[in-house]
């Protein structure tokens, strides 16, 4: 006899993994269609239901290309799974597995909604996160997302290929550099809520109705950009830039192992979208629609899931649009951006949020409109810091050699 609690968790695991894999497959299709639309093309719109294979008189249904993910998957699985002779076989196999496992494990603590009310399945409310009650969801997410860099480095190292190695080197430098602003971005949120629990962070935003994107704009900006870099999306896709490194760390991979890498990349993007939405866009909260009580009824519970998924979808659409709007950074620009722009901005945000929060706590409810005033102050700090940084330490945008410096100075600048 299985405990009902374990059964519920197993059902949640199945739903989450199945949903994520399906979502990743269809996001690949969406990405390809979006790319085509932005470039004035049509995109993959042919693969649908091949009914004429069953009966000659039936016509094939195209279904806007919705069969494309299945075709892609079958293609990857049926391809020759070639392992080059010069690779370190154990690490070569381990790399895609570790990166996918780390990417999937992240979603164990990410809530996919609020809670389901009791009564229908179970006599207690069902939490929408697989591993509910961990209490330190943020820490788990960040610990696991740091493991992702191991997959990249292992893949690049085991491939024994110059392009792969360069990609892995770049990737490790980039991910380590951008972990810092990522952490600084969430520090403000943790300061404001006093919790590492994702549920509590969302609940704090739902209670006041002030999403942290409005009250901590600078932190939001820093986190948003760093999340792009952590997900290795354009304009930060230096680990695998096709034009320079062929495929970066997965140059030598083919077949199902390559598929694991690609799926893991999409899972990173989905996880980044979840974090952005939950930390800065109120998670499942939307004004007047979802309510903010801790134990919602069925209507609110369903609405909260729908709102959360809609927000995630919009953020992912933005990820895909940015890809075609911005050129890739050069590597020195990438590093300069991390250490000279993002890091100071993150620190300024941390100090500003600490001061503003303290003022808010001390004033209590004595001053009417204190929330609005704090938000305005945060926006003022954001704009001022932005202007100062952009004039004090502008990105090196030209390609001229630094003839006035000796080579040592040039190296130290990079």
């Amino acid at each position: 006899m299985i405990e009902p609690q374990i059964l519920i968790i197993l059902v949640k695991v199945v739903i989450v993994i199945g949903g994520l894999m399906t979502a990743a497959a269809y996001f690949v299709l969406l990405e390809r269609r979006m790319a085509a639309w932005v470039q004035d093309r049509v995109g993959p719109n042919r693969v649908g239901a091949p009914l004429s294979q069953l009966n000659k008189s039936w016509k094939d249904l195209r279904l806007f290309g919705l069969g494309q993910p299945a075709a892609d998957g079958v293609k990857f699985i049926l391809k020759e799974e070639y392992t080059p002779a010069h690779v370190d076989k154990r690490l070569f196999v381990l790399a895609p597995i570790s990166i996918l496992v780390a990417a999937l494990a992240t979603f164990a603590v990410i809530p996919f909604g609020s809670v389901l009310p009791n009564g229908l399945f179970w006599d207690e409310p069902i939490d929408m996160a697989v591993s509910s009650g961990a209490g330190v969801g943020m820490l788990v997410v960040f610990a696991l997302s740091s493991i992702a860099v191991y997959g990249v480095i292992l893949g690049g190292w085991a491939s024994n290929n110059k392009y792969s190695f360069l990609g892995a080197l770049r990737s490790s430098a980039q991910l380590i550099a951008y972990e810092l602003p990522l952490g600084l971005g969430i520090l403000g949120v943790i300061l404001a809520t006093g919790s590492l629990d994702l549920d509590k962070i969302i609940a704090a935003q739902a209670e006041t109705g002030w999403w942290f994107a409005f009250t901590q704009p600078l932190g939001f900006f820093v986190f948003f950009v760093a999340a792009f870099a952590e997900a290795a999306r354009l304009p930060f896709d230096l680990p695998e830039c096709e034009q320079e490194l062929i495929g970066g760390y997965h140059t030598e991979y083919a077949g199902i192992k390559l598929l694991l890498f690609l799926v893991a990349e999409f899972l990173h993007m989905i996880a980044a979208s979840f974090l952005i939405v939950m930390l800065f866009f109120g998670g499942w909260h939307f004004w007047f629609i979802t309510g903010s009580e801790a134990n919602p009824g069925w209507v609110h519970a369903i609405l909260r899931i729908a709102v959360l998924m809609t927000k995630i979808f919009v953020v992912i659409l933005f990820f895909m649009l940015v890809r075609w709007s911005w050129p890739r950074f050069r590597f020195d620009q990438l590093m300069a951006f991390a250490w000279k722009v993002m890091l100071p901005l993150g620190l300024i945000n941390f100090v500003a949020i600490a001061v503003i929060d303290q003022v808010k706590t001390m004033s209590g409810d004595s001053i009417p409109g204190i929330d609005l005033m704090c938000a305005v102050a945060a926006w003022g700090v954001c704009i001022a810091a932005w202007v100062v940084i952009s004039f004090a330490g502008p990105l090196v945008a030209d390609n001229l050699p630094r003839l006035d410096l000796d080579p040592f100075d040039v190296d130290s600048q990079i």
Binding site: W37, V38, Q39, D40, V42, V322, W326, F391, L395, A397
Partner: protein
């Protein structure tokens, strides 16, 4: 060559303006361009056509570079004088001509055989440029397919039949260009 070589002339790149230094305005500008293209694509104004279902429109067939044809003169004879200028100009060496003495009064030679390997051809139009009597021309036929390599080597009869098939839709360019009709 080192960076301080005196032969290198370094061009001053334009300085970043205010919006360039601020970075965000430029990003918004780029995003606006993306949205513009996305919108026009979603309204069905994309460039690509769904080819087998929908034929692409060729704006000016006279300057399109598709399948070759060998033109005929007013008496129905092949216009080619077997001068080999096209074969010489061809960068892909896809034209093969065997010229023999002409049975007609107005020229010395004519091609006994004239073959073009359509698979070798790169459709550059140099043969058309080189021809002194406007005998070889590129038509606007683009859907060139075959089941074997041999089938894609077009001989004189095939090239003349392309002329018969396209002479009404694509009149010879020579009159306007002052060539010999």
């Amino acid at each position: 060559m080192k960076a301080d070589d005196p032969d290198i002339k370094w061009v001053e790149e334009p300085q970043l303006g205010l919006s360039g230094k601020m970075y965000a305005p430029m990003f918004v500008q780029g995003l606006a361009t993306t949205f513009k293209h996305l919108k026009s694509s979603l309204q069905g104004k994309g460039v690509t056509v769904s080819y087998p279902d929908e034929e692409p429109s060729i704006e000016n067939p006279l300057i399109y570079r598709g399948v070759h044809r060998l033109n005929k003169d007013s008496q129905g004879r092949v216009k080619c004088v077997a001068c080999f200028l096209c074969a010489t100009a061809c960068p892909a060496h896809c034209i093969d001509i065997i010229g023999i003495e002409s049975p007609w009064e107005d020229r010395e030679k004519y091609p006994e055989s004239f073959t073009i390997d359509e698979l070798r051809c790169i459709y550059c139009g140099m043969c058309e440029e080189a021809c002194p009597v406007d005998a070889i021309e590129l038509t606007s036929l683009y859907n060139l397919t075959g089941r074997s390599r041999e089938e894609m080597i077009f001989d004189k009869e095939k090239l003349l039949s392309v002329y018969d098939a396209t002479k009404d839709t694509e009149p010879m360019q020579s009159p306007e260009l002052g060539g010999t009709v």
